[in-house]
Symmetry: C2
Subunit: 378 residues, 2 copies
Amino acid sequence: MQKIRLFTPGPTMVSPESMLAMAQPLDHHRTAGFRDDLKQCVELLQYVYQTGTTPYVITGSGTAAMEAAMLGCCKPDAKTLVCHAGKFAERWRDILVRFKLPHVEFEKEYGLGFKADEVAAKLKEHGDIKAVIFVHSETSTAAVSDAQGIAKVCRDNGALCLVDGITSIGAIPFKMDEWGIDVGVTGSQKAMMLPPGLGIVALSDRAWEAIDSHQAPTYYNDLKAYRKSMEKFDTPYTPNNQMVTGLKFTLNQIKTFGIENVWAKTAKLAKATRAAVEALGLKVFAKDPVDSVTAVEVPAGVDGPKWRKEMRAMYGIHCAGGQGHIKDTIIRLNHMGYVDEVDTVGAIAAMEWTLAAQGYKFEPGAGSGAFGRVIQGA
Amino acid sequence: MQKIRLFTPGPTMVSPESMLAMAQPLDHHRTAGFRDDLKQCVELLQYVYQTGTTPYVITGSGTAAMEAAMLGCCKPDAKTLVCHAGKFAERWRDILVRFKLPHVEFEKEYGLGFKADEVAAKLKEHGDIKAVIFVHSETSTAAVSDAQGIAKVCRDNGALCLVDGITSIGAIPFKMDEWGIDVGVTGSQKAMMLPPGLGIVALSDRAWEAIDSHQAPTYYNDLKAYRKSMEKFDTPYTPNNQMVTGLKFTLNQIKTFGIENVWAKTAKLAKATRAAVEALGLKVFAKDPVDSVTAVEVPAGVDGPKWRKEMRAMYGIHCAGGQGHIKDTIIRLNHMGYVDEVDTVGAIAAMEWTLAAQGYKFEPGAGSGAFGRVIQGA
């Protein structure tokens, strides 16, 4: 009988409608029906990405899609700048290390985002950088980087701009073409409101130039194979066509709602959550907070893992903890996708009740009250 | 209103019960519930693989799982024998080529399987071969290789035995430990009766020795990362947990039915189908036919693509054509998984009706009759 509410920043909540859309009888993937589904997904993803380029759908996680993009764009004879201030950016650094790809690390403290002028300074310092990788919304710290500004700096310096948009694309403003982004990667289980299982990557003409200038050291994640198959709206290896059906369904929901309205909804939930956090005397962890997910510091005297555990056990609110050295010192609440004000005020209330149970002092209802005032536009 | 019956050798038919099992509310993957699901899948896969080793579940297609196994076991300082007589084995050859891994090709005509003595001769000819790759059931030609015999030859010669069991494991006898197989790969959309989206790979201690002796040139498909996470029944990257739920469901069905009964059912459908083919004056394409799928030669005077198209358009029977140079000259009928005698006699009848429409001469009902006699044990 327990109702579980996923407040994790991926998988996010999936609607019963989406689950049932994917429960339809399965057809074969080498059919006109599948090609039409994939074509529609491409067009709808173009809308979500704000791009005229072709987004590719890879059966795998966001990491598979990011590996595909990196092995294509980060060449063994060129240098990549990898900006990291969190677990996911560190993974992209690890991929560069694994493949022995020349790179420069730009490390910042967890909770910080990257700014355009900082990246510009690094590019000036290292004149031979041909690609820049950063995480738009660093899911592990809930911090945002200036994607628009960094993309411009990259373009001005002739470097490719690779963006991990896994928890930004479809959640917060992301304008691939207008901003001049070369690579945008996301996954199915975030703003796309689906289970995990699909990685998505869109690439600019400049990115394709890099990809076409060498052979990437991969087979499964070789984007050239995906491009060739996409000429017929097909895939090089057997795709998860059940999830492509789901993707068509959820992307149509986003299109109907309007991407600007999605961005506004996400921002409002984030703003209201931050207000609630402050009203409870708690602190938002990130110094550059992103709107797709909020990280809250576990206050002194409160046991973080116990707090999260009780929220789920008693009220079905499943928040994420942190990752790495901040594993037990933050909790994270998702604002992406199929989640609304009522869900979120419930999560705030459950946070209050479980904090109270651990003896944390605050005015009961202060969080929910502050949350509601933002929602009501006061 | 049209009923589509998938007779393709992957995706095979998925039951409504399985689809609905996967339509249950999605939970997070970093939970005791998911770890328990994955643990159960591992145990059930051990039963299906007939192994005490640990099968790993990768979010991706069978190609991803095969790439993972190959990059771990086929080392740059060792030679691999790749046996190919069909499209899928050619793909494994292509992976060796892509990664510049030393290899010897053993090519045979499409429709043939590989025998133990032939592989033994090749191993004698090339004394430095450390790994052998072959496809147990070559899906593209519907031919079977002698997995048990080849595995013994490999073991006797100190070479690792890598088996593409994508359309054999869970369909026809496959005894990983008893036969001494080092690597067995399969995918979710075949005998596992699920949509595409998961690749599965099990590895012997000998395989792990090879993997541990070097760093495979991959990140997403690095098996060491999977092994480390599996210590806690976890995965290194976000898994498709919706499909793991489905896998637990279908593997339990297989366990309940009994793997030997599954093998017997598959074999009987294949035998009956081959009898029907013969009774209609048609020919089975493979000289070494496998039981998991039957390839039928398109007879003279019949247009293959039109034949398949009409079977689907008029009767909802979706057969596969061929691949490569036999694309239009064979059709393939699946016998794996959630398909039974009644489904298959319907496919045979639809074959008859659509052949008749193209003017092919035969005794009406001869196919269904011969099929039924085998089913009834006559």
